[in-house]
């Protein structure tokens, strides 16, 4: 437990003279961004964000005040603000809650990693990034070669007046490479990333250089490739696009706060109705989707959510049937729908809401070659580049960086500007094959909530085959 615990205890005693329950969530996060573009250092930026969210329960209503003043007086002042605003709000509260929505648990968590980020030197990181952009060098048409590393270290401690004390420590890395090839009015970008709870082991020079060379070659290939054809066809999505497909068309619509209407003014509502749980055929029988914050190295692995609820793996969809929602204890109390431990905040200055964590499509039994072999006429797509979906999470349109046509069970020509569109439940019911080998991807930039919050999510998936999808290309 960090040195703040004594100050927190004093502040909690202060708060509990006025309210029956109080908590402090302390967060310290260091984020370092290093960017090399065209062999030149462009960004070397470290941000250290430290503060505390003081939380009270008053007349059945949870309310919050945030401060970066971590002295006893600072926390007490924040508690006074929280109490004033919560007192004003509680008469018009949306729901009456109780302290049982904040379990009194104790425990700790630490990210799995081979080498601490603390021991990974700047020179080593720069060497890896410089080597990557150098490896993309070649044709004059490769106009933009970029290597970006984001290193995040987070300490997250939660204390409640009921005795809960959790301490979680995270090391996270996002290593991203991109190569843009341009000629005339045409331009194509290919990228690669490795993202998750890792340490310094991510900065493996030779492996990174190999990926850099591959994406540079693929960007050049795209520049000379024909446009993606437009017609219904079978579609194989690789794990780095399945990530986005899962995120937008499974993760968000299953969030219980969306189903309960909290997000209707911003991110939107959901086509999923409360009575759909246990009944709705979301997809084909091959579809099994889990909420799994226990998987090592995924971006959103943790032991406790920001309300202190212990995090466990739960199945959201089994055999294509919707079973469980993405809702924390408050949403479970409001809706009566089974949920998960996903009460999460972006930082010390935001209140927790229902978020995704790691939402994974469970592996099937087919090799990638077997999936491709099932396709008479189709396309295989890699790596998301465009995403859009409606506010009920029905009508989506996604675009990818790179695709290859499939004819008679074999991969063929590269095509550029591949896109596809569909409607969520119809699309997932066209799932006709699930690969056996999954990969974990993720993003640090999932936006939601009012006030807005951006949060890290992980999505592991094998390649998947969908039948009869509307596929189209760019403007000729």
């Amino acid at each position: 437990m960090t040195s703040i615990s004594h100050t927190v205890a004093t502040a909690l005693q202060f708060a509990c003279k006025q309210v029956p329950w109080a908590a402090v969530r302390y967060s310290r996060e260091s984020t370092t961004q290093r960017v090399v573009r065209n062999d030149v250092p462009q960004t070397n930026d470290t941000s250290t964000d430290e503060g505390a969210m003081c939380e009270v329960l008053l007349d059945g209503h949870f309310g919050y005040a945030a401060t970066a003043d971590l002295s006893a007086a600072g926390l007490q002042e924040a508690f006074s603000r929280a109490i004033e605003t919560t007192r004003a709000s509680s008469a018009r509260k949306a729901h009456a809650f109780a302290a049982r929505q904040r379990p009194a648990v104790s425990g700790s968590y630490r990210s799995a990693r081979t080498r601490d980020l603390d021991t990974t030197g700047l020179a080593e990181i720069m060497d890896c990034l410089l080597a990557a952009t150098a490896a993309m060098k070649g044709a004059d048409t490769l106009v933009n070669r970029m290597a970006h590393a984001m290193l995040v270290q987070t300490q997250l401690d939660y204390f409640t007046s009921a005795g809960a004390q959790t301490s979680q420590s995270f090391d996270m890395v996002s290593l991203n490479l991109s190569a843009t090839a341009a000629q005339g009015s045409e331009s194509q970008t290919r990228s690669w990333s490795r993202t998750g709870q890792w340490g310094g082991e991510v900065f493996a020079r030779e492996a990174t250089v190999q990926q850099a060379q591959r994406i540079a070659a693929e960007a050049l290939a795209l520049l000379g490739a024909p446009n993606c054809p437009s017609s219904p066809m079978d579609l194989v999505l690789m794990p780095d696009q399945m990530m986005l497909q899962i995120h937008e068309s499974i993760g968000h619509p299953l969030e219980l706060d969306r189903i309960l209407g909290d997000e209707r003014n911003y991110a939107g509502w959901s086509f999923v109705q409360p009575e759909d749980f246990g009944r709705l055929r979301y997809g084909s029988e091959l579809m099994n989707v889990s909420f799994d914050p226990t998987r090592s190295h995924e971006f959103a692995s943790y032991a406790y959510d920001d309300g202190g609820n212990p995090a466990t793996k739960e199945m959201l969809i089994e055999g294509g049937i919707l079973k469980r929602g993405l809702g924390a204890l408050e949403s479970q109390e409001r809706s009566g729908i089974p949920g998960v431990a996903n009460f999460r905040s972006a930082s010390w200055n935001r209140a927790p809401i229902d978020r995704m964590a790691n939402i994974n499509l469970e592996p099937g039994t087919s090799s990638l070659q077997e999936l491709i072999g099932k396709v008479e006429r189709g396309i295989l797509m890699h790596t998301n580049r465009s995403w859009s979906i409606d506010d009920y999470r029905n009508k989506f349109q996604f675009g990818c960086e790179y695709a290859q046509l499939i004819e008679d069970g074999r991969l063929g020509a590269v095509v550029r500007n591949p896109n596809y569109r569909g409607i969520t439940v119809d699309f997932w019911n066209c799932l006709a094959g699930v690969g056996r080998d999954d990969e974990a991807h993720g993003t640090p930039y999932c936006g939601k909530g009012e006030p807005n919050q951006v949060i890290r999510v992980g999505h592991a998936s094998p390649p998947c085959l969908f039948r009869g999808v509307e596929v189209f290309g760019g403007q000729a």
Partner: protein, 448 residues
């Protein structure tokens, strides 16, 4: 603490830290300090009841260090205690030096300069939580209103070791809300520096009126190309896509700009379209993170032709362009679309038969090379026949090139531009906004 008290306390603390930092610089070193501070009350409503209330006080100090041709940035949260924060900023300065000793030189470093001084303060009058809640929800009694209030003081400041100093502080609020009737909804925003009950009542009444129109029979519109009117909020979103790389000088040079064909005069947009970066609207500070002061009004698109891309000093140095006070991201901070001649009372007649869209949702480039954007319709969107609103539509996906929609297919712009205030609160409240009229467009493509 009063709003002015917060601003004054932040100013004094910022000054003390800057003096401490500049006094500790070595020969050949320079440092700039950017402050982003706020005290904000956030209220989140669902069904006209409070879902969450959060009161936030925060100050973030971003330091940029230059020494030996290297640049290092360090950002830290301030506690407001001088002893604590003084030690923290000096430690950050030491980290800058140690990193600069390892980094290779940056050939495109923009040396710090004194870009002058400025001071802007906009004082408002904000309500305390209890009367505020009564003021918001009282007139909406009986409505299924989902909304988000964010109000308080926002500060942006910049100083550097060359003597430059800028200050911007503003007390203001917005209440961004949706009125629902079953699955159908209307969007509204009320934004000001002083809560005026009559203004809020009028704003809410307009939304209630629009909600009543949604009671008409729902129209199932098949995908296809339709004559379409984008109301100001919808058109703001469409032109707002230009902030996603289209108007960036660096993006153009790096092959990433969807307006490459416009920049290279291969294509042009409609002569009806003129767009400025206009700080005269008072929505955002004119100084950027380097303290450079942008022109009060910079033409971006003039009668359909590209007038200027947004060019930061770094891009100017790297690509031999002319810098124009743009921020490092080279996105517009105060986009202003010039109005046209189509009067509000003439819109439905001019549309005739087609789609009236109040709002768009989830826009993204679908084919950057052809400046093609996809998105959804959202909120109060109607099928119109013979100049009469027939009924609301089920939401449609659209996919359309800006070269077409803002080119030969742009028929008219509204005579009255409206401000869509910035409501983004990722990490912090963001000043800014877009001013745009509505737009009448022929053959807008709907795909799903």
């Amino acid at each position: 603490m009063s709003t002015q008290g917060f601003s004054q306390a932040v100013a004094a603390h910022f000054d003390q830290l800057c003096v401490l930092l500049f006094d500790n610089l070595h020969s050949g070193e320079d440092l700039s300090a950017n402050l982003a501070a706020e005290e904000t009350l956030f209220l989140r409503l669902n069904n006209n009841r409070v879902r969450q209330n959060t009161d936030v006080r925060q100050s973030m100090l971003a330091l940029r260090y230059q020494g030996g041709g290297r640049t290092v940035d360090q950002t830290l949260t301030l506690s407001s205690h001088l002893v604590h924060d003084g030690a923290a900023v000096l430690a950050a300065l030491a980290r800058c030096r140690s990193e600069a000793a390892v980094l290779p030189p940056d050939p495109f470093q923009v040396a710090m300069d004194n870009h002058g001084r400025s001071h802007e303060e906009f004082v408002g009058q904000l309500l305390a939580p209890e009367p505020l809640l009564q003021a918001i929800v009282g007139p909406a009694d009986g409505c299924d209103m989902v909304g988000f209030y964010a109000g308080g003081t926002v500060v942006r400041a910049n100083r550097n070791s060359k003597g430059q100093s800028h200050w911007f502080a503003s007390d203001n609020f917005f209440f961004d809300y949706s009125l629902y009737d079953g699955p159908k909804a209307v969007k509204g925003v009320y934004s000001a520096a002083v809560w005026n009950p009559a203004d809020w009542a009028a704003n809410l009444q307009r939304s209630k009126g629009a909600l009543a129109l949604l009671q008409r029979p729902v129209q199932n519109i098949r995908p296809g190309a339709y004559r379409t009117y984008l109301a100001p909020a919808a058109f703001s979103d469409l032109v707002g896509m230009m902030g996603w790389g289209a108007l960036s000088g660096a993006a153009w040079k790096q092959g990433r700009s969807p307006f490459k064909k416009l920049a290279e005069k291969e294509l042009r947009l409609s002569p009806l379209l003129s767009i400025n970066e206009n700080f005269g609207m008072g929505l955002a500070p004119r100084f950027n993170e380097l303290g450079e002061v942008a022109p009060e009004c910079l033409p971006l698109i003039s009668e359909g032709a590209l007038a200027n891309l947004l060019v930061s000093s770094r891009s100017a140095k790297e690509y031999g362009l002319q810098a124009n006070g743009a921020s490092g991201g080279e996105s517009p901070r105060a986009l202003d679309v010039a109005p046209g001649t189509l009067g509000a009372s003439e819109v439905l007649a001019a549309l005739g038969t087609g789609l009236y869209l109040s709002n768009l949702h989830y826009l993204n480039w679908s084919d950057p090379v052809s400046a093609r954007v996809t998105g959804m319709t959202r909120y109060a969107c109607f099928w119109v026949e013979g100049g009469e609103m027939v009924g609301p539509i089920n939401n449609l996906r659209w996919d359309e090139s800006l070269y077409d929609a803002l080119g030969s297919q742009l028929l008219a712009l509204g005579s009255q531009a409206e401000i869509s205030p910035e409501t983004g609160t990722y990490g912090q409240r963001n000043p800014g906004g877009v001013r745009a009229p509505g737009a009448l467009i022929e053959g807008f493509n709907f795909t799903l």
